[in-house]
């Protein structure tokens, strides 16, 4: 009897341990969002879309002044012009994005046909190539114009990344993104979460570290340090360089999976791109 009781307790403890190790994406997102709600209890949840400006009053003052004359406006105008310009075969972006330019909430998405995560930037280039156009570079330049216009048209929609249950490869991609996020890298031995979870809100020299939740809502972003608009994958590369790790290729599998996980974390938060950041 005693042995049976011990065995039962061990089995229950074991299954609990396995559950902790293999949290579902739904469990994860609850865990992450609750973490930040507790860490910053006075912040309205939707405010996380504004990144560091949700939690630093001083930096918010600077940002609000910048937003009076948004530095990303010319990019939106150029992007609109790109959207309305026909490809050489007479078709246009509208033929690839049936929901119109305000389609950002559908990305990143899992493509069962292609067996990989498709980001909005990748979808734009797939559209261009399918219509006989040259693909755009993924970090700087005109890709940001079309992304800015699409982000602007998507403002107000909610982040809604879906991990379809009918294709286990989607969950695998999410898990790979999660592993990337929590893996220490580079000579400084840092993982993404170390800056953006327990140290969020803390100062790093003159900067305040932003919370992880809400970080994906405003891309592409005009960063004052860049003096232009840049993509999320450009920022990923910048982060890796900062911890002295070799960056990966923009739109490579590593960053796409990371974006899948990273954006999923912000499910339910409003899209507000393009944005301006220090």
């Amino acid at each position: 009897m005693k042995n049976a009781l011990i065995a039962t307790v061990l089995v229950l403890a074991g299954s609990l341990f396995v559950q902790v190790l293999s949290a579902s994406p739904e469990d994860d997102v609850r865990l992450y969002q609750d973490y930040f709600k507790k860490r910053f209890p006075s912040i309205d949840f939707q405010e996380f879309a504004n990144g560091v400006y949700a939690i630093s009053a001083q930096q918010r003052e600077n940002w609000e002044a910048i937003e009076e004359f948004p530095p990303y406006e010319p990019f939106i105008e150029r992007g609109e012009s790109m959207w309305n310009t026909k490809f050489s075969n007479g078709r246009s972006y509208a033929d690839c994005f049936p929901n119109g330019p305000g389609s950002q909430h559908l990305y990143p998405q899992w493509s069962k046909e292609q067996g990989k995560v498709i980001t909005l930037a990748l979808a734009i280039n797939q559209c261009r190539e399918a219509n006989g156009e040259q693909p755009l570079k993924y970090m700087k330049g005109p890709i940001n114009d079309i992304l800015a216009y699409m982000a602007f048209e998507s403002r107000g929609q909610l982040t809604n990344v879906v991990i379809p249950a009918d294709d286990p490869r989607a969950l695998e991609a999410y898990e790979k993104g999660k592993e990337f996020y929590f893996t220490r890298r580079g000579q400084l031995n840092f993982s993404c979460d170390q800056c953006h979870f327990p140290n969020s809100g803390m100062n790093l020299r003159s900067d305040v570290l932003s919370p992880a939740v809400g970080q994906t809502t405003g891309w592409p972003v005009y960063r004052s340090g860049w003096g232009t608009l840049g993509t999320l994958h450009r920022r990923y590369s910048g982060c890796l360089k900062q911890v002295r790790a070799k960056p990966f290729a923009a739109q490579g599998e590593e960053y796409r999976n990371l974006e899948y996980f990273h954006t999923y974390m912000s499910n339910g938060i409003v899209l507000n791109g393009p944005a301006a950041r220090k």
Binding site: V20, L21, A23, D28, L31, Y32, Y35, K178, E179, F180, Y181, F182, T183, R184, R185, G186, Q187, N189, D193, F197, P198, L240, K241, R244, A245, K246, P247, F248, E254
Partner: protein
């Protein structure tokens, strides 16, 4: 026609001379067995670290600088840089491999 042939011949000989000068310069730049071995080991280590996504930022730069230092005849500096590239690659590999498949929500979240 004869003049054209002469010009072609002269330009071919000139090109061959320039190429061989460059090749010899290359050979002399790596005329240190210890450095060559170290550089090859560093490059292999870099490749190994990269294969697991663990390459560190400056390894490629160190290798390029080592090659440049060797080309300039400064083998002491070249060896130091190659050694640095090798060590960082090995550490990057160990760092990546030690965490493979183990990433989960950290303890502060549980």
């Amino acid at each position: 026609m004869g003049v054209l042939l002469k010009y072609i011949l002269i330009s071919m000989v000139t090109t061959a001379m320039l190429l061989s000068a460059g090749l010899f310069a290359g050979v002399s730049a790596y005329d240190d067995t210890e450095f060559v071995n170290l550089l090859n080991t560093a490059k292999s280590a870099q490749k190994k670290a990269s294969s697991v996504g663990g390459e560190w930022r400056d390894v490629g730069k160190f290798i390029k600088e080592a090659e440049q230092a060797a080309a300039d005849g400064d083998f002491d500096r070249a060896k130091k840089l190659a050694q640095k590239a090798k060590t960082q690659s090995e550490l990057g590999y160990e760092q990546a491999v030690s965490q493979k498949g183990k990433a989960r929500n950290p303890s502060y979240l549980r």
